[in-house]
Symmetry: none
Subunit: 316 residues, 2 copies
């Protein structure tokens, strides 16, 4: 038994920091000899080379338990022949020991809540929050891009028009190489749209125009068909200057493209088109209930939605 | 050994249809008694309840192999104590047998396109496609559930009302153990809604009613807060009897919850509310352009959207 293994076996469990049931990972916090330690574990992927042996009791599936059968559909739980020697181990296990608070934060999950933001809550509280997020030069980094003071060498395409224009450039999340992981940001030049909440039917021509320009520019630049790209916005966005996410359709964006966070540009345009048909008054996204995912670490949760959930007054 | 297990053991491997190393899934095509069969396998998530025993050689990690060590970082491969009885199985294994070409397409890796389905394309072509999908007993497995002929023991909650009612039961993607991976389906009793295309403002009371009943039933049954659940539908759905997906907010559902495939129930209700304000005529989702992701193997791509893209007449 190696010293490293002895350390791992001496791990005293404290709590689960995070778990991803989609990707089958688990992060644990504990101590070894009284010093903090983190174990991160990930189930291994299936070994494709052994696929031909998959149903073999000796080389593949061992015990099988039938859970359910309906017509042609059957589902089982199974155990699998595994040995850590031939790459068929059950899991990859990492130990960080001794670890720091920085490690602990990095590997911790935050609780997520589904919140319903009514027009009233938006007007009364969220607008105040947004004012704080755009004050004191917090958007200077965006203006630096728009005015070519920063990152101008990264610009993929620009329409310089102050009203209809935008800048298209790679997002930091993209490695710039893997085409199926393509991730661009389109930042508009106009500064009067903080988020989708500011959109009204009057913006339809603007949105249709940037939609077609983004698709043309990105598909030409990267030799893609336009229907290989999806364009969406976030609500809440990470910063309050209107921008769009342009992503390859084959890229599993996980949280970034999930409902409750992302809204397709086309869907926004359609909703605005319906609003335009509503004669009596000028309608906009400000008039909708918007339901979205919010982490407990987010100020909007702490200052607005948690108090409201607990019947307290928001502290903003 | 059950008949189902005998079938699975008799599976003759042909080829790998798809593999996702991030989510640890594997789809295999083969034959059983000469008839085509699909095995879809997914490694199980870690059982959080057993986290305190994670490093125990008897109840958790068995053999350990140290791959590398660098300062405070250590990498191991491990095998894990597992039994299919206590929810610690290595994998969920689904068998579809005998399967059709549609199943094979559904579980194969494929090129994806973003398509815009106009009201005209829906009326002229997609409705014909849907008619084919509901004919010839293709929805029998759904009616088996609704009429308690199958899976009745799995029902989490039922409102038996033929108009407002629905059945809530676990989706086969859920391992039934990991709460943060909770995945339920709500299948409505009424048979007059094929997809969101059939929804109009008249359905708002129905949708609000099932929304609140689903949230109450699921949160009580699994001791969750209602804001720990997200409810969405798919367009296109995998079958044309109206159903909803009920998922834990912390579960990264990947493609299932991504924009261009999933639409939040709350968002649908809001859109219908705006439509209700449109006086002049009865509006519904049938009147919208709907943009969504479509795989090349999907009949809607081959028969409708690919021909349209190439300026040919759809062959449906």
């Amino acid at each position: 038994m190696t010293g490293a293994e002895r350390d791992l076996r001496a791990f005293k469990f404290e709590r689960i920091l995070n778990q991803d049931t989609g990707r089958k990972t688990l992060n644990l916090l504990g101590t070894i000899d009284g010093k903090p330690a983190i174990i991160t574990a990930e189930k291994t992927a299936f070994n494709a080379a052994r696929a031909p042996l998959f149903v073999s009791p000796s080389d593949g599936l061992q015990s099988l338990t039938l859970l359910q059968k309906n017509d042609i559909y059957h589902w089982f739980l199974a155990s699998i022949q595994q040995s850590t020697d031939d790459g068929d181990a059950a899991a990859k296990v990492n130990l960080i020991y001794p670890c720091t608070d920085v490690h602990i934060k990095k590997y911790s999950a935050q609780q997520i809540h589904m919140v319903v933001e009514t027009p009233e809550v938006y007007q009364q509280y969220v607008t105040k929050y947004i004012e704080g997020k755009v004050a004191g030069g917090r958007l200077n980094w965006v203006y630096n891009i728009l005015e070519h003071r920063e990152e101008s060498e990264k610009i993929v395409f620009e329409d310089g028009d102050k009203l209809m224009g935008f800048i298209l450039l790679p997002d930091l999340k993209w490695d710039l190489v893997t085409l199926t992981a393509l991730y661009l940001s389109a930042i508009v030049h106009r500064t009067d749209i903080r988020s989708i909440r500011d959109l009204t039917p009057d913006h339809i021509p603007f949105l249709r125009s940037i939609r077609s320009k983004i698709l043309t520019a990105a598909s030409e630049r990267y030799s893609l068909a336009a229907d290989q790209l999806k364009i969406y916005v976030h609500y809440q966005p990470s910063y309050y200057h209107f921008h769009l996410h342009v992503v390859h359709v084959s890229h599993d964006m996980g949280a970034s493209a999930t409902v409750g966070k992302a809204i397709l540009l086309d869907e926004i345009i359609q909703t605005l088109e319906v609003m335009r048909l509503v004669g009596e008054k000028e309608m906009g996204y400000r008039d909708l209930e918007i339901t979205y995912l919010l982490g407990e670490e987010h100020d909007l949760w702490r200052k607005i939605f948690e108090p409201l959930k607990e019947g307290r007054a928001p502290s903003i």
